[in-house]
């Protein structure tokens, strides 16, 4: 379950732990986020963009980085998603951003993922995306969707 904190009057903040050992539960943070945003009353088109981007990022944390933390900031006119993990980091971000580039092993492909489409898709569906990563330390991805 997410932790909820009102940062101030205008920003809602939620924090989700993303379990890296459980492929079945992957995506729960995105499902909850979708429900929260529906309750807030954002337009479906914006909610869909947040959902897809966050879900791709959440799945990445599970399959490439043994889990992490997803944070959600809901502001009046935008949603900010911050995904932080302590996985292996991304060696070459430019390469990782290319459609079709994937280091996922075959067992991940048999689960329906690992086509190398996630990161480019996250960029496509958001209005801003920033990747901070260091090999051996982890990855932090910040995405913004304007509503």
């Amino acid at each position: 379950m997410p932790k909820v904190t009102a940062v101030n009057n205008e920003i809602l903040y939620y924090r989700f732990d993303v379990d890296g050992d459980n492929f079945t539960s992957a995506g729960e943070a995105s499902v909850q986020t979708k429900r929260i945003l529906r309750r807030v009353g954002f337009p479906p088109e914006a909610i869909k963009r947040v959902s897809i981007a966050m879900y791709e990022g959440e799945i990445n944390m599970v399959i490439h980085a043994s889990g992490g933390v997803a944070e959600l900031y809901i502001e009046e006119d935008r949603v900010v998603i911050v995904l932080t993990d302590h996985g292996p980091g991304i060696e070459n971000v430019e390469l990782a951003m290319q459609e079709g580039y994937s280091t996922a092993p075959d067992n991940i492909r048999s689960l329906g993922f690992g086509a190398g489409m996630g990161l480019p898709n996250m960029k496509r569906y958001t209005d801003g995306m920033e990747i901070e990563t260091k090999v051996g330390e982890g990855t932090k991805i910040t995405m913004t969707v304007n509503v």
């Binding site: 539960s25 963009r49 897809i52 879900y55 459609e99 329906g112 993922f113 086509a115 480019p120």
Partner: protein
Amino acid sequence: MKMSEIASILDCRVLCCEDHMNSDVFSACGSDMMSDVLAYVKNQAVLLTGLVNTQVIRTAEMMDMVCVVFVRNKMPTEDILRVAEESGIVVMTTKHRMYEACGMLYASGLNRAEAGHAEGDGRE
């Protein structure tokens, strides 16, 4: 086309959310790769797949899809059905293979009525 028509065309067993069967859907897609569904689907409402895991339902929910059809008699587990139930996603299973099932729906007019609908909110 109503989801109940899809069920009868494909001779499906409906496993979850039968109460939504009267809703209309206008298009479908078939894929075993959720990566591709997330990257290429626009406004398709029905997902036909031979992949059986929880992420199929989650992917459908993220894409605002309303129905998942498992092909080749694949049976989802209780866990998968519970996730679908919570999300209000209709789940069916058909004995037909992917190629046949897609062809049967296409031949019955699904997708064609709404050509041009696929533009959606695509952001290239």
